[in-house]
Structure formats: structure tokens, C-alpha cells
Subunit: 225 residues, 2 copies
DNA sequence: TTCATACTTAAGCCAGTACTTAAGTGTCTG
DNA sequence: CAGACACTTAAGTACTGGCTTAAGTATGAA
């Protein structure tokens, strides 16, 4: 009996699984990839954890095409998580799983570049640091900026050869401020995807930021996300 | 946030700690030694676990002389444990922490020998196996029995030299059946304590049986405790 | 049919943590 | 006061269990 409780608690006690369960507390169903992002875990690792949670009847899974949607299999699981949350010493910082840090307003793609709050922050940080300079209705990259982008793995000169416009401000509907559209904006997003700073989600335009991404954005641009 | 939940669940998820918490669910306070026995852990190990539980504010401790009494520091802990218990797949076998397996009627000392249900069972098993033989108002040990006791680390011949009576039936008030009193009974208890099959508790006459003890009693005497 | 995506499974490496042995502190008993 | 007892702390060992790399299946798109 007490050993079964230990098993159950152990199942919840693993950080990645705890994050997954926390993300699912809103009662919705999420795909394995989305949950891996929430938990900042590799897809393989998340998959293993999810299968354990399903086996323990914490979660149930519904396959839709190539997606697998996971959700709580009964509300007792949610109760248990909340009972555990009640044991957290200082309760002042308790906040329900918020869309704010994950929602479409926070970080999304706009056509092929980054938008949302994070897109805007990046744009403004680049200007503040003198990496990009606004002139009339477009951006250009300073000499120091060319260096900076090279270190990031982006060859600005190559981008200029593309037929499309290089970089111009794009008004962000959610922020009412500007982010970077054009070849440069697309290159930044591509690079961030490649470096696993952000990852795309299924059919949504929402983009999720990995822990690595958070750290790197802070290191390289002083942005706190 | 979700990480704090993971920490809390991890704390409950360790088998020894889970057993301790389960034992404390009756709301009473127990000494470190008693809890070590409940959890079938060494005193040192239990002590470490207890200090962790206190540090996390799951338990509070009150020192009384050389005893330290542990109990839940608030009822949220009990709620959380029960919420976890609700997640146990098949609930038919759920039983509240019972005194039956731990109480004074189950296993205790009677002066310096073993009494209670376990004392009676041992006595009867020894007779059934022909290790001891009842004659009039005392027990004697058969030739095969002398061998058996030697394997157990008890030299019967040495016991006979003691001034006190060797072995006689002692009516057990709780069982209304007999257990073994006298030098032999005392030697059995001493040996069982030494081998860590049973352990004494504080000021109580109650004796608790370790998992090792349970196994050995089954192996050597076919007793299921 | 070929490629990309979504997800799972297998195998080996690595780290955190429980448990053991050993030693130390404080308390009660004879 | 000596000795037993209740409990804690420290140090070293061992093992469970998570994470990574790698490979495989199935679905959908081109």
C-alpha cells in the first residue's frame, strides 16, 4: 500500500513528467511534441515519460493521423497534483498554468519570420546594440552587425543577393510595435530553429522557446524571456 | 513551480519515506526508532529521511528526553498522501493503517521472552516440528531440536546450566494460548533481537518484526506473520 | 515513390541518491 | 560515574533511473 503510494509519487516526482503534468492541468490535450517543448525535453525522452504516464493510467492518448494527443485520463490526477501544490512552502508565487508565456501573442511566426513579444524584443535589442539601424522604411546592418551575425552563423552579404527585400519593419498586431520581416528576419528564425533555441508546433503559428533559447537570448542580446 | 511539485513528489516517492508517512497518517506522534521499524529501515537511514521530511516542513519533531517524536506538521501533508492514494489503480485492497499488525496483542515481550500472537505461533511451530516437546508443565528440547537450536545460534545445553527454570508454558492473556517462558524463551528473544528479526520499542513492551524477521520466521518455522 | 514530419523504441552512459559502516552527542538508569 | 539507549552525522559504495545517440515505424505532403 504505502509502496504503491511511493510509486505514484515517484512518477510525479521526475521534473520532466512534473512539467508535462503541469502543462496538462488546463484540461486540454497536447501532442507529444508540444509537451516535450513545455517540459524542455527531447522528443525521445518525453515519449518515454509519456508512455510511463499512460501505463500508470495518469494519461490517455488519442491518435490523430501522425499526431498523438495526450490528456489526463481522470480528474483524480489533477486533484493529486493540486494537493501536492498545496504543500509548496511559500504560496505567494503560485500561478495557474498561464497562456501568457506560451500563447500566440508571446512568440509566433509571421509568414517565415519571428513575431510576437519575442520577435519585437529581438528587433529592439538589435537596434539598441547597434547591430541593425533603421533608415526610412527598412533596416540595414552595421559593420559591427555584420560581424555579429557571422558569429551567429548568418552571412548577411549572402542574404542581400536574394531577390526579396532584405529587412523592413513589420508592425506586430499583438504588440503594436515592430519586428523584422524580410530575408534577415527569415534567416534569424531559421537559425534559431536550427540551434534549437525555438521549435515550431504542429499546425499552429505558435513558437515555443527552449531553455537553451532563453539562455542564449539573454547571453547574446540581454533579452529576458 | 512545476519543479517544486517535482521536489515534493520526490520526497514522498522514496519507499522508506512513504512508509513513514503512511504510518503517521493516524495523526499520532512516533519516535524515530518506531518509524524506522515501521519502514523496515536502519535507524541511521530513517534518521536521514526524517530530517529531510522535517526540513521540507512535512513533519515536526518534539524532543522528550532521549526520544524524538515526529508527527505531521500540518494536515495538508495528510491530504496530499490521501490524494495520491486515490490514484492507486485497484482500490479494493486499501486499508487504513491498522494497529492489528503492530499492536501490543501482536508481538510483545513478557518479562524477558516473546509473547503475543507471534510468541504463541513460534511456540506452536516448535512443537509441531518436533523441536520442543511438552511434558507435564514444562518443555524439553528433542535431540533434533538441539541441532536446530544450534543452527540458530542457541546452545541448549548451556541454558540448562542456568539457575532459572529451562522452559515452561506461559498462558498468553491476549491469545489465551501458550508461549515459551524461562531460559529458552529468553534466549530465543535475545537471539531474534541480535539477528534483527525483531526490535524493541521505547518504553512499550511492544516488539516489532522486521521484514528480515518475517522472512526468516517463514523459512525456519513456516510461520506467516 | 520519395521526402519530411510525428512519434516510438533500443542501447549505453552518467549522475543523483539511498543505504551501509563507523563514529559522535546527549539522556536516562543502576 | 559507567554503561545502555536514542538518535544523529559523516564518508564511501552501489544502484536505480533518466538522458543521449541511433534507428525504426507510420502518416502526410510533394
Amino acid at each position: 500500500m504505502e509502496l504503491q503510494i511511493a510509486d505514484i509519487a515517484t512518477l510525479i516526482g521526475e521534473p520532466v513528467r512534473a512539467k508535462i503534468l503541469w502543462a496538462l492541468l488546463d484540461g486540454r490535450a497536447y501532442t507529444a511534441t508540444e509537451l516535450a517543448l513545455f517540459a524542455d525535453a527531447s522528443p525521445q525522452n518525453a515519449s518515454i515519460h509519456l508512455s510511463k504516464l499512460v501505463k500508470a493510467d495518469f494519461l490517455e492518448v488519442a491518435t490523430q493521423g501522425r499526431h498523438r494527443y495526450y490528456r489526463f485520463s481522470n480528474q483524480n490526477v489533477a486533484y493529486a497534483i493540486e494537493a501536492l501544490a498545496n504543500l509548496i512552502p511559500d504560496k505567494k508565487a503560485v500561478s495557474k498554468p498561464a497562456d501568457e508565456k506560451h500563447g500566440i501573442k508571446y512568440c509566433r511566426t509571421c509568414y517565415d519570420h519571428l513575431a510576437g513579444k519575442v520577435g519585437v524584443l529581438i528587433n529592439e535589442a538589435l537596434i539598441t546594440k547597434g547591430i541593425t539601424v533603421q533608415s526610412e522604411n527598412n533596416y540595414r546592418v552595421s559593420d559591427a552587425g555584420v560581424e555579429w551575425f557571422l558569429r551567429m552563423g548568418i552571412d548577411v552579404d549572402l542574404l542581400k543577393d536574394e531577390r526579396r527585400f532584405f529587412a523592413k519593419p513589420c508592425l506586430d498586431w499583438s504588440e503594436r510595435r515592430y519586428h523584422i520581416a524580410g530575408a534577415l528576419g527569415a534567416a534569424i528564425l531559421q537559425r534559431m530553429l536550427l540551434l534549437d533555441w525555438v521549435r515550431k508546433t504542429k499546425n499552429s503559428r505558435t513558437v515555443l522557446i527552449t531553455n537553451k533559447g532563453k539562455n542564449e537570448l539573454y547571453e547574446n542580446l540581454g533579452i529576458e524571456v
